[in-house]
Point group: C2
Chain length 337, copies 2
């Protein structure tokens, strides 16, 4: 049984492990500072398909296939999959994973999807209901841009606080074997600080990340020094600064441990990406491409992964609503051998 | 620990229970055959708000509030909430549940959402990670119609196989107390029989329901006679006929036990609803308004609840794709006192 620590915060006693993982990234992400870490860089933004939506689905299909192959498993070995994405009705996931015939649990956490998926997959394994469960997500610059902002051909100007939706995907398989264990987690609460600028998601999401990290540290009686890294999803440059400020005001200094996937994935000087990367695929690919291999080889031993998501839609913003946000957290640790 | 029966199918040993539940329905649903069973019928389709989207959010807010009140709890007592809906980026849930400050798990299962939510909430409680977890969903005729089909003012003609999206919401709180227990469940697989007609969802979803019901009966070694009712989400009249045919071809006759929420909620003769009701709120409100009270009072003792969802989007259909569908199942039983 999991240990209930306090509302939304738990330790896992079975200690589900990450058996395998894979990351795919697009051309621009491949040219960024983390390019060499991704399993595969896909130069063609259509990935051989006739639409960007079909391409994004194919990213998820490929990421899960690769994670399954790396574990020397077949799709029949996977007990369930938790997946979701940003495209309306999560079609990147439903079409991308349709062929696998794996019991499917659709989730929606916007850019927090990878943390939500790993958290749920771990709880499913912990409960005994499934023996293994994958977590998969993706994003694609072109599907997101035309759905949330403007048609690509419009060539709109971007504000300095805006982030660049990554074309990327990540998949992880959670079971009872592997070198990285999921120790516990924190289910995020919806946080809304009345920010209404769809081009400043980092600022909208920073309070959610701050609250989740604070809740987890306080409930577990740990401090930032107990972790090698405290990784946030994609707050970008703007949101990361705010996160550190919010936490410092509450006496928590994570400046030494903090890394943000949205900041890490692009070089803002050379790549014209303003505040950084975003999209479900950003933190998923950086976790599966960069942090999990580092945990696996023992270079780091203990991290908090707190992906963040903005839970608005173009319709809600047009109707004058502010942006509700969330951050789910999982605690990942190099397993004792 | 849950008992793993086979891939996607499990028994729960802790036997999480449904502590409380509530249902809300719109005017048309209130005028239907089940009108007297809903906790509250909301005559105003805007529910006092200035947009239909905000009204739908308010349906979820009210449904969860009512379920909490009926259990004589406060929002602080609820450990987590699993919620989702049909509106892009699930804004009915995120805005409707924002004020509760309950740890939030966003899910996407289209019209299967209530079964997915109860299944996940039960597993969360079974795992020990949370002590109680709500499952909430909604749909609204006007938000769905203008998002998936045509602007309301267009007044388009409806085909005979089309279904009417219900304006309704349901909420259930799963914990360790209550008179109805969740015995086990089946995580649905994505099923796609190459149907491309967005006005014939019942036919698209029937194979998913048939597959989930067949898998569960076979894996648990039970037959239709072991259940008082086998309830499907919203296959409507067209889909229900197909479901019975599909199962009969495999030697399974559920004609005596089968009830479909989409068939039950409207009177097609008097209400001009063609094949029946649909939308996440349809099966959620019929479960929480009609079946759970019947289980609670012992009038029925043992049901399978298999909600169905169509996982396409207008974009995927415009791009020539077929409609992937899913059906999640939970087994609900009157608890021994």
């Amino acid at each position: 049984m999991a240990e209930y620590i306090e509302k939304g915060i738990f330790n896992l006693s079975v200690r589900p492990r990450i058996q395998s993982y894979a990351s795919l990234a697009g051309k621009k992400e491949g040219e960024g500072p983390l390019g060499k870490y991704f399993d595969k860089v896909i130069e063609d933004s259509r990935f051989g398909k006739d639409t960007w939506e079909k391409a994004e689905s194919h990213f998820q299909c490929e990421a899960l296939s690769m994670a399954i192959r790396k574990a020397e498993l077949t799709k029949e070995d996977i007990g369930a999959v938790c997946a979701g994405d940003l495209v309306n009705q999560c079609i990147s996931s439903t079409y991308g994973l349709r062929e696998f015939e794996i019991p499917y649990i659709g989730i929606y956490g916007a850019c927090s999807t990878m943390a939500e998926g790993i958290m749920l997959a771990s709880i499913l394994v912990e409960s005994g209901a499934v023996n293994s469960c994958a977590a998969v997500t993706s994003s694609h610059f072109s599907t997101a841009e035309r759905q949330f902002r403007f048609p690509l051909a419009y060539g709109n100007q971007r504000t300095p606080t805006s982030q660049w939706t990554c074309t990327a995907s990540g998949a992880a398989i959670i079971s009872h074997t592997g070198n990285v264990e999921i120790t516990g987690g924190c289910i995020g609460k919806i946080t809304d600080m009345d920010i209404r600028d769809m081009n400043n998601m980092g600022s909208a999401m920073a309070p959610a990340a701050a609250e989740t990290i604070r809740r987890y540290l306080t409930a577990t009686g740990t401090s930032p020094e107990d972790y090698d890294c405290i990784v946030t999803g994609d707050l970008g440059i703007t949101g990361s600064k705010l996160l550190l400020e919010f936490l410092l005001k509450q006496g928590i200094d994570i400046s030494k441990q903090h890394r943000d996937c949205g900041v890490m994935i692009f070089d803002p000087e050379k790549q014209d990406t303003h505040s950084g990367g975003s999209g479900c695929g950003c933190s998923a690919s950086v976790l599966c491409g960069y942090f999990l291999p580092m945990l696996e080889c023992g270079e780091i031993r203990n991290i908090l992964f707190a992906a963040t998501g903005a839970l608005m839609s173009p319709v809600s913003v047009q109707q004058g609503e502010s942006i509700p946000t969330i951050s789910h957290l999982v605690h990942l640790r190099r397993a004792e051998q």
